[in-house]
């Protein structure tokens, strides 16, 4: 299982999914109307490292985090 966490202002409970790469996650989340805008403006981290390609492979126990636009300071 892969755990999906939604950070900051994304008001969504974590998911546990049986997926093997980020493209599969993209398809699942794109079906959720409330997620569509977050998907276009959020960055993705796997095990707390930012990832820049949706082809990234996932394995059992991985944690995927969605990071919406930031504004520290």
């Amino acid at each position: 299982m892969v755990r999906i966490e939604f950070l900051g202002p994304i008001q969504k409970e974590p998911l546990e999914l049986q997926i093997t790469n980020l493209n599969e996650l993209a398809k699942i989340l794109q079906d959720d109307k409330e997620m569509q805008e977050w998907l276009t403006n959020s960055a993705v981290a796997v095990n707390d490292t930012l990832i820049c390609s949706s082809n990234h492979e996932l394995k059992d126990g991985d944690k995927v985090s969605l990071l919406p636009p930031v504004c520290g300071g």
């Binding site: 950070l7 900051g8 202002p9 980020l22 996650l25 993209a26 989340l29 794109q30 569509q36 998907l39 276009t40 403006n41 959020s42 960055a43 993705v44 981290a45 707390d48 490292t49 930012l50 990832i51 820049c52 390609s53 949706s54 985090s65 969605l66 990071l67 919406p68 636009p69 930031v70 504004c71 520290g72 300071g73």
Partner: protein
């Protein structure tokens, strides 16, 4: 070092501590940047969420950059609510040389704004409203978006 606090920062104490930690270490220039909550758009204050694991690795990468220039960086940030005219952020560089210090604090603060995993909310009439208009998508965002 990275210091996270619940609520507003005690700016004089933090600046004193940092100065005294480094004053014998032969840094010619010390430049703190202090961010304070401004009264605008009728907010009562700001509130912050942090994601610590990525914040810490982002900061560690900057510590390494600083080390290569014989400099060091320190940062303090608030978690939760910070009211008007209170401070939520201090970043500081200590460097042997002035020029390098000025350039470094500039680059550091700009990248902080663009990349540090911190989310800002306006506090307004008891509500906590995500400040999306002032927020910046992290580099590489959108890889899960619809490609059609």
């Amino acid at each position: 070092m990275l210091y996270l606090y619940d609520g507003a920062l005690n700016v004089p104490n933090i600046l004193k501590d940092w100065y005294e930690q480094e004053e014998k270490n032969n840094y010619g220039a010390f430049i703190p940047f202090v961010g304070t909550v401004r009264s605008e758009d009728e907010i009562d204050g700001l509130s912050f969420d942090l994601y610590e694991p990525i914040l810490k690795s982002w900061f560690k990468a900057w510590q390494k950059k600083a080390e290569k220039k014989s400099a060091i960086i320190k940062m303090a940030h608030s978690r939760g609510d910070v009211m008007l005219h209170e401070s939520s952020y201090i970043a500081a560089v200590f460097s042997p040389k002035r020029r390098a210090a000025l350039e470094f604090i500039n680059e550091f603060v700009e990248d902080f704004k663009a990349s540090a995993p911190i989310w800002k909310y306006d506090l307004r009439n008891g509500n906590r409203i995500y400040a999306i208009d002032r927020s910046t998508a992290i580099k590489g965002s959108g890889i899960l978006g619809d490609k059609k």
